[in-house]
Amino acid sequence: MKLSDLKIGQRGIIKEFTDLALSVKLMEMGCLPGESVCLERIAPMGDPIAIKVSGYQLSLRKEEASKVILHT
């Protein structure tokens, strides 16, 4: 399952990334493998999305979220 597949309010645990360069940036922002994330909201036009991770709100585009794989 991908981060972009979460529904609002749903939680997941990050497993891995499919884009190396993006993974560096996401890790800097606190999205580490093993970290729990929760989909907080989706922008009115369906993109971008906002997630809760390590205690704060992070927004990213769906296309970026689709490169984050969650534990099923």
């Binding site: 190396l20 360069a21 993006l22 993974s23 560096v24 940036k25 996401l26 890790m27 800097e28 922002m29 606190g30 580490l32 493998p33 907080e40 909201r41 922008a43 009115p44 036009m45 369906g46 993109d47 971008p48 906002a50 390590s54 205690g55 704060y56 709100q57 992070l58 927004s59 990213l60 585009r61 970026e64």
Partner: protein, 700 residues
Amino acid sequence: MKVALVGNPNTGKSSLFNILTGLNQKIGNFPGVTVDKKSGFCKLPDGEVVSIMDLPGCYSLYPKTQDEAIVSDILSDKRNEFHPDLVIVVVDVTNLKRNLLLYSQVADLGIPLILALNMNDLAEKEQIFVDADKLSELLGVQVVKISARNNENIQGLKKAIASAPSFAIHSSIYSIPQSSQNLVDKISSEFNYDNEYASLLLAHQYSAAKHLSKNETDKLGNFIEEQDFHSEDQQVEETIWRYTYIDKLIKECVHITPKPIEPSLTDKIDDVLTHKFWGFAIFFLILLVIFQSVFTWAEYPMALIENLFSWIDEVGHQYLPDGVFADLLLNGILAGLGGVIVFVPQIAILFAFIAILEDTGYMARITFLMDRLMRKVGLSGKSVVPMIGGLACAVPSIMATRNIENWKDRIITIMVTPLISCAARLPVYILLISLVVPDDKIWGFFDLRGLTLLGLYVLGTVGAVFVAWIMKHLVKGKAGSYFIMELPIYRKPRWKNVFLTMFDKVMTFILEVGKIIIAISIVLWVAASYGPPSRMDSITTKYESPELINSYPAAELERMESAERLENSYVGILGKAIEPAIRPLGFDWKIGIALITSVAAREVFVGTMATIYSVEGSDDDTANIREIMAAAKDPQTGAKVYTTATAFSLMVFYAFAMQCLSTIAVVKRETNGWKWPAIQFGYMTVMAYLASLIVYQLLR
């Protein structure tokens, strides 16, 4: 001693900077890039004065943006002129884990450090307790709890600065992996680096490092290939290692009282502000307020400034001896200066609002709301505010594009913002509409003139979106730019920050843009006041003849003379020279002169028209000039000059053409060169020409 503040965005770093330096600060650019460089001085308890520099916010030393690259360069290169003697890493205690990543990287560079745990007030409220003594012991650096927002324990931080060691005594955190050791050693000896982590950073970003020569970059590239060094894999490995270390630290030093999870205030506000309907409704309401304020609040101070300058002008003419010097001073320099200062109220108001939007955290939500829509036309969610500001004036709006981190998004926003119909076009539109559009109502309800005006605003906006869409395909974007952005919690605006931002922007505008505007104003003044001496002499002789003096009143004669002088000045000659080119648009040489002088500022059109048709009247007194323009006839054919076709062609020309020195100057400053202003001037002129051509040929 040079002290640098380093930290993640939204950690209260700039609040701390403002508290430490007060009004005693200087804003400029880092050499060669448009990244704000803020520095100032701070007096320590022992009387020593240290310089403080606020480095741009960043999440790590592996830069993803221009701002972050600056931080990395300054901290890792000991020969950099801004390299500090002491670094204060400012971290948000409520988000310690992510913040400590940057700390751990900076700590490895071997610069003396202080760790400032900011937002201590919030941490206490959320029952997060950090054992600062323990943390200090484990890290080997001074740890100070502060709350910059509430001015808490700033004295403690100052004391820590005073007692900081002059060289790093803490041990490094990350050890260079065996596989990279060879490469690091090679770089250290080749480039004379005494810090291993700095050498490793150089290996990661050597291609972007500004202080290396082409030769050195190539050499480094070879090293890296030889050693089979894969930058991104290494970064991932290092980042995970650091987080493991940080997890251990946090386990030992941080105690969080678990509490029931309930939606925070920020969550509740976000439910409304990012709502499908209310989110947009409130956003447009806020924009409306900003636009109205920039338009109406600025009106009074702007009139005051204009009056002040015309008063100085009057006094000057009264007391200065007539001559070239007085003319240059008053009509060239003073007029140019007035043209700059008059924008100050609008800039101040727009930036006060932008600072409030940034400070409260709402700006990030605007981006979140609008990103999808704006991305379709090649812009970003952050382009919205500058473009709306463009309705008032493109100058502050282009300065406001610094909030857009992505270079491509930013350049496109800068390129299209002047197409949005600004306030300076209004006098031109009003004059021309009143000339050719009847004062009728459609269906007894819609004012025809008002509709035409609205149509011109729509035209400008559609033009901007269209150009943005084209540029999206033409402008090359930098790779590796992401949308990934923190949505900070909502906070009350800090009025001191709002005021300082406003103050900085106004000063930057006056000093940086003012220089260019004044220089070009002088050139324009020379071209409009001087002509080939033989022609000018004959005009002087002509108006000295008693025949003329006797048959006209003195004031009338003076106006006739100045009109004739303008016609024969270099600008006038240029106007006649371009007449063949603008004929197909329905313009004669007189309009040609106005087009040229309008390059100084669009509203100059009305004044120039007034001078050319030698009528009395200022920019605002359009009734008089309107009648004369309505009666103007072509001397050869006897046909009316200002037909519907000509007037509409002219309005469309003004809608698209880049006739604003201030904008050119500010684009030059913001893009650091003449390339983009030249492109902008070129494409807008071509676009204006073609659109006017089509309009004139269709309506004729």
